[in-house]
Structures are given as C-alpha cells and as structure tokens.
Symmetry: C2
Subunit: 239 residues, 2 copies
C-alpha cells in the first residue's frame, strides 16, 4: 500500500458503491405500482433501465455539440422508451416523474452511513457521481448521507470516466490528484482515476446487480486500498 498520508479528500462513486439502487427501486416501484393499481414487471424494468445508463451517457459524450444533459433527463428519456417496450400502460406525466425521481430515493448499504460518518472526521467526503446535483442532494437527505459537499459530473459537464470529472473534482478542492482518493465498487472507475494520479480504494458490492452481476466481484487492479466495506475503509484510513 502506497503512502496515504497526503490524502485530504475521499470522493465516492454512488450508484452501487454507496447505495443499493436495484433493491431500492424494485421495492419502491412494486409498492407504488400496487398502490396505484399499475401492473408491471418492475424488476425487469429496473434492470433494463440500468442497462440504458451507459449508452445514454455515451450519447452525451459523443455529441458535445448538443450540450450536456443531466442524468435526470437521461433517466426520463430512457424510461419513456422502456414503458413502450414493456407495454406498461396508464402512466401519466406525473407518474413518469415519480418513477424518474425514484433515483433520488435510494437506500444506502448497511455500512455506508456509519463508515462515511467516521471518514468525515478526518477527510473531506463527497460524492463524485454521474448523478446530477439535485439527485445527489435529495438522495443524501433521504438516506442520511453526511457529505461535506456534492460533486457531480454535472458540475464538469463530463460523465465519468472522462478525465474532466476526476481532475475537476481535485481542482475544485484546491488539491492535487494524489491528495484525492476515489472510492468505488467498480474497477473501471478506479482505473480511470488511477491513470490521472488519484489514489484508489475498492469496496466490493457483489449483490449490486442481483442475479445479473457479472463483474467487480473483486479488486482487479493495484488499488491503494481494498476494503471489505465502509467500516473497514474507515479503519484502514485511520478513522
């Protein structure tokens, strides 16, 4: 493990790393659908919605001339396609809005809040997420995430793993890349961060995709820290 004494800030991937988006959305939509009398395979919808995530950001990445679109907008666009595909009928505009805002109502993993609270005593802690600022702010209030500030791809108008997101976060904090540690359950996020000089910490979340999990069961790179969960991360970081 390399020298961690210069690290001043820990920045976190959020979807999957801090919050359990899949179980949260399935439970939220199932309960809501039942209360509304709307029948659908909500689990299939959630999985398909997440599969649309990377392609939707790729469109933004490859068409800068169209301007940046925040993740709430991409989520809504993907949802409109999917409700047609899944033949879910009877949804009003308010319903589509409610479902899209489901991404603001995600529950943390059991160790997230406790670990973040410990880390906050010694480090600046912030999301560095592709979720937009409003999404991350509302989620923090919903889930009790004790962030010091909210950093989002939206601020840099570049989705991870574009370099501008990682370097932009360090610059906003007046820090050098090596003074910032990226924490993620996804090896590809850490790979991008490490190439730019950030420190890296891997925390496995092997149930993130439920039965569809196909990777990120373990650390695949030379990360500075590999922790069992956020409590273990706090311990390893001296908190």
């Amino acid at each position: 493990m390399s020298d961690m004494s210069d690290v001043k800030a820990l920045v976190f991937d959020v979807f999957g790393t801090v919050v359990d988006w899949r179980s949260s959305l399935i439970a939220d939509f199932t309960k809501w659908g039942s209360s509304q009398g709307i029948s659908a395979d909500w689990t299939a919808l959630v999985d398909a919605w997440r599969r649309a995530y990377m392609p939707s950001m790729d469109v933004v990445r490859h068409h800068p001339e169209r301007g940046f679109a925040k993740l709430d907008t991409l989520h809504r666009q993907s949802l409109e396609v999917l409700i047609e595909k899944f033949r879910i009928i009877g949804l009003s505009d308010a319903d589509l809005r409610h479902l899209t805002l489901g991404w603001h109502r995600l529950h943390p993993w059991a160790d997230s809040v406790g670990g973040l609270t410990r880390l906050k005593t010694k480090y600046i802690i912030s999301p560095l997420s592709n979720g937009n600022v409003a999404l991350l702010t509302n989620m923090a209030k919903f889930a009790g995430l004790p962030w010091d500030l909210i950093m989002s791809a939206e601020l840099f108008e570049h989705y991870k793993p574009d370099p501008q997101a990682y370097l932009g976060a360090a610059a906003l904090l007046n820090l050098k890349p090596e003074q910032v540690m990226m924490v993620a359950a996804h090896n590809n996020d850490l790979e991008a961060a490490q190439k730019l000089g950030l420190k890296t910490a891997f925390v496995p979340r092997i149930t993130e995709y439920g039965p569809h999990q196909s990777r990120d069961f373990k650390a695949d790179g030379e990360w500075d820290v590999v922790a069992d969960d956020f409590g273990d991360l706090a311990k390893r970081m001296g908190c």
Copy 2:
C-alpha cells in the same frame, strides 16, 4: 409576508451573514503575527483587504476574456499589493499562503450553527457565496457549518450579484427561482435575488464591519422574511 410554502431550499450569503470574517481574521493574524515575530497593523490590513474585494471581482466581471478566477486567487493578488502598501516585511510565500487561507478559517456568528441545524431538518441548505468551493468546504469543516451541499460563484463562473449565480443555483437543485430563498445580511444581495424571482430573507449583522459599518443596519427592501438572527429565521420558517 408572501407564501413561503413552496420554498424547498435556503441559500446563504456567507461572508458577514454566516461568519464574522473581520473579527476572525484580526484575531487569527494578530496571534499568528505575534508567534512569528511579524509586526503589522493587522486590523488595518484586514479592512483594506476587504475593501479590495468588490473591485477585484469587478475585474473578473468586466474581463470575461481572461477567464474566471476563484476568490482564493483574487485574495492572494490583493494581499500582494497590500503588504507592499502597508510595508509589512519578511513574509515568505508560505506566509502569504497562510494569510490567504485565513479566509478558510472564519468563525460563525453565535446563532449560525444552531439556526442552520434547525433549518436543515426541513430545507436544503447551501451557501451561495462568492467564496470558492475549497474555501467554503474548508470553512464548513472548521466552523461546523452543516451544509447539505456547497454552491459557489465558482460553479457558475459568475460572481454575485450577476444573475447567473442565483439562477444557476436554482437550476442545479432542479428548482424554480421562487422555490429558493436567498438569506443575506446585505440588502443588495437580496435585491438581485428578488429581481430574479427568488424569495428573500434579511438577517442584520450590524457589527460585520466593526466601526466602519456604513449600511445594512436594517432591511431596506420588501423582503419576504426579516429575522433577528438564524434562530429567529428557523422559527419563522417553521423549524
């Protein structure tokens, strides 16, 4: 008083409204100067430094072709001029850096943390300050300010009272201007916010400038709320 029930977020001016920059800096520098054996009229320096604040932002505002400069940079530039003017000798680059970072080490008014903590239970609370993100983040950790997120002129590359700062804050939060309340001890800040449709709250800080206070002794406009302090503001906002 107009209807406040739509307000979702309170955004705060910081220098003067949340923290007592003048007393904090004078005490900090006096103690530090004494420990370093550096003699200076620190009170005069602090007052002159603050007088350079508005003109330094005006240069950024009127020369967009030079690009945006964060407040730490403007503070450092102003300081370099002032130490010549005040003939303060023997300061190293590290000393200038320490003094500039004095703006990250400001103490809150006695009612600030308690009031913000109450307001946070019902509203999103954020600075909307000309201080840069790192300054506001470090200050929050130093002073125990429980912000939900950090919004700064730096994010919008426009200093208040440029409209982009106020409208940018509402847009980042997915809110309409009338769902955001600007809180300030400065009537001109509220005037700019109100023109753009934000709600407004005035809290007097009549000792901000010490013996040099020349305005903002009271509310000069038709603000939505006029409170005695942050505790009174929390009460008036139903917290």
